[in-house]
Symmetry: C2
Subunit: 505 residues, 2 copies
């Protein structure tokens, strides 16, 4: 694999200078075009120590407009980062649409180094690489341009390079003991690197192997590759837009609409909606569970166990009231409620999942999502706000996201608050009649109501595709608000209790 990067390729100073002027201008122009594009550029640098990763990143920064380019390098995770799922640090650093992000020691670093030092098995390395592949695929599917450069040096060339750096007092500090330690493990590194490249070189995120021995050569290759790739991607996105428009033409979508079988029970219609909880009974059980929650949350906080609660449900199903019954039992500094409405400008400039990742909070805290990442497979699907391709692949993206939350040891509960259509009508009518509740009722609520069946079939698919053993849905019979509140509180308490037991055991 690396034979082709040990050939002694060189670019002369004259050739380089002749090219540099034009290329710089071209890159700057391209950055301007990129600013209005609907995708970010993600450039990953990895490879052999001393093969010029840093210098290349420096040159890119020097030559391009720094306002539209970010450089990110990763060391040991901070305390903040350790308290979240491992990929949180990468998600929060993703460049916005129109910008370029340069990544050093990125998501490729842990699997590679851990494997070389024997801290993980080959199977575990592969598993980590699969996560990398899913991560990049998720980003590429929403349009991101991903470029990956593997900077290579032969064993001999690396030795020569490290020696040279050491001899110059200006660069000697760059060479650490770790560098020499890695050099001694050269062969192990090369073997693991090959596996890494093979498993993660996909047509949407190919590795470019660059011979790193000659600085001007590697600059020339990287800069030209970046330029060409951005140009091509801009073009490809234009075509993609045309295709999307084509697909939306009337007649097309018609044939494509699968008719759900009518009159069949759905996961929702199978719920026993007569369940209620009244008066003293309700008060007793509510107090009981709130007390339990307060205690359990206290213990979870001590143990550093975070909780993520997520609420979906019909309009007027009582999400707000239920959430308030929960938060009442918890110290205000320990929870945050994230209402998911239209995304902010900053959020629109990022991948769909970005705005959920950003809200994952620190160890021991409770994060409550009032509506959530399921918007894509509910309202966006039903209203046609995203392509079918997009909501179909969202199931996998969601499972992946939730898996990472659970793997990080957090407690995750997902609630669908269900009311019958008749109950919703009654609540809408009541809202319209009570002055201080009128603001809660919008035209949109009435419009959504007309699509009840379509929503119901989307909910059914959602449960089918995303209710898993590690992240099950809890469907809550919410015609009776007291019943719903107690069921939610009890479910949260049970989940916390189980997590604390696991943590201990």
């Amino acid at each position: 694999m690396f034979e082709a990067a040990e050939l002694g390729r060189k670019v002369s100073r004259d050739d380089f200078d002749a090219m540099a002027m034009t290329l710089r201008t071209e890159l700057l122009d391209l950055q301007q075009r990129l600013r209005s594009a609907d995708f970010p550029v993600i450039i990953v640098f990895a490879g052999v120590d001393g093969a010029g990763k840093n210098e290349t990143v420096n040159l890119l920064n020097e030559w391009m407009d720094p306002r539209w380019i970010d450089t990110r390098a990763y060391g040991r995770p901070s305390e903040e980062e350790r308290e979240r799922p491992g990929y949180w640090r990468y998600w929060r650093d993703l460049p916005a649409k129109g910008k370029i992000g340069l990544f050093l020691s990125s998501w490729y670093h842990p699997p590679l180094v851990d494997r070389v030092y024997g801290r993980i098995s080959v199977a575990e390395m592969d598993e980590q690489l699969e996560r990398v592949v899913r991560f990049e695929k998720t980003l590429a599917d929403e349009g991101a341009l991903i470029l990956k450069f593997w900077m290579h040096l032969s064993e001999k060339a690396q030795k020569k390079r490290l020696k040279k750096l050491e001899e110059d007092p200006l660069t000697a500090w760059q060479v650490t003991e770790t560098d020499w330690k890695h050099w001694k493990l050269y062969n192990k590194f090369a073997g693991a690197a090959e596996r890494l490249i093979m498993h993660t070189s996909k047509s949407h995120a190919m590795w470019h192997i660059v011979e790193g021995a000659d600085a001007r050569y590697r600059y020339t290759v990287v800069l030209n590759t970046v330029k060409e790739a951005i140009l091509r991607h801009l073009e490809a996105r234009e075509v993609a837009k045309k295709v999307a428009a084509e697909m939306k033409k009337p007649g097309k979508a018609k044939a494509a609409k699968p008719k759900p079988l009518t009159g069949q029970p759905s996961i929702l219609s199978s719920l026993d909606m007569t369940q209620t909880l009244e008066g003293a009974d309700y008060n007793r059980r509510l107090q009981e569970q709130r007390g339990r929650l307060a205690q359990l949350h206290h213990r979870a906080k001590e143990a550093g166990v975070s909780t993520v609660l997520m609420f979906e449900g019909w309009d007027a199903a009582g999400k707000g009231g239920t959430i308030r019954r929960l938060t009442n039992a918890i110290n205000a500094r320990d929870y945050q409620v994230i209402p998911i409405a239209a995304p902010t400008e900053e959020e629109r400039a990022q991948h769909y999942m970005w705005r959920f990742w950003r809200h994952l909070s620190r160890a021991g805290r409770v994060t409550i999502f009032d509506r959530s990442w399921y918007g894509r497979v509910l309202v966006e699907r039903v209203e046609g706000f995203c392509s079918e391709e997009a909501w179909r692949r969202a199931y996998g993206e969601i499972n992946d996201f939730e898996e990472q939350i659970v793997e990080a040891g957090h407690v995750l509960c997902k609630f669908w608050l269900h009311i019958t259509s008749e109950e919703q009508l009654a609540r809408f009518t009541q809202r319209g009649e009570i002055e201080y509740k009128k603001w809660k009722l919008t035209d949109e609520d009435w419009r959504n109501r007309e699509k009840w069946d379509v929503y119901e079939s989307a909910v059914n698919d959602m449960v089918e595709q995303t209710s898993t053993r590690i992240a099950p849905w809890t469907l809550v019979e919410a015609n009776s608000k007291p019943f719903a509140r107690v069921k939610v509180l009890t479910t949260v308490c049970d989940a916390l209790e189980a997590a604390l037991k696991r943590k201990k055991g």
Copy 2:
């Protein structure tokens, strides 16, 4: 995940009969449209025993035109199958373009059952599922429509169903001890099934979970889903064709063509082409290596170790002569030479990789490919016979194919026979002058020669992306035919020796 498939959904006989007539006609019409389509339809059935997989497949066969539909079910691999990589049996059964293949107990069966019985770990199951994902992706990337139905029954419903089958003398034979054994493992099955579905439900190959308790319901769902999906796919392929045409328009391809850095050494130009081997020396070493090969092959045959040899190289580089020197040392019944020229009609109707899979031969045999699966990243790339997307993803498909060959314990050697441009010119001229060699020289050879640089850069990329530790390229300096022949023979012998040692150890 399975909650939504335990709701007791039913379709009445009247409703079913009313629908049946129209649906049957529609399906038959669709089959006719499909015949001229450029993709196959692959339908996978899996799920709980007794949930109606077989009956559904029977109904599809009954309702549709049997000439364009194949049913495949897999049991224990045959001796023939065990001698090849595991997926060989699936590759050879793939439906041709325009046809429908129904698969029972398919590639999902081993990972699921082996996991339930504890024969593999979770990590190993995941690894096998990743292979499934790559397999389906490879097929979908070339246009295949993949539909997967998971037929579900609750634990209780399964018991009821098995009892009912047992009571009827006509169906009692269907219920085996294994079925009851599986029923006792219901929970383990459900857990493994969930993992399987989560890992392999991709937007290009989604699982449809079907409630299996009521026959008419499951027929209705499956048949309608099949119909809709084929309709939609036919439409999507139309759009894809338009896009491909759009991309080919002049002006587009221009900006997209990356210019290789000129004047740089390539992996080929770095070879020492002055190496020769003359007269007595050549004869001695040739005899030596042929004797060695004869012996080693004999041992390999005894041990059931297969050998796959693959030759690529410039026109007139001497592939034919080299292959003859090899085959001379082996019994004619033990090897086959596969010259790769234009695909046959049958091959064109299949995935690009299909024609290579089909030639993998039985245990202990030698298969020699004269040109190979690398055509896609060489001639097809250079001549624009396939899309850039297609040849870029081919690197991964090739690595995957070769990994499976090596994992199956076969010996794989890949040779690029290199000659200089001057040497090629001399050989062409000579061919033109010698009467009995004239047929070997075509206009195409001259045309290819003009694209030397472009081919060279394609070879360079090929080695970079596909020369791996488990399947390295051997670049052969072939200006001297004797040198090349001996190098090839020696390489094959060394590889055989190493494999036999591993087998023993």
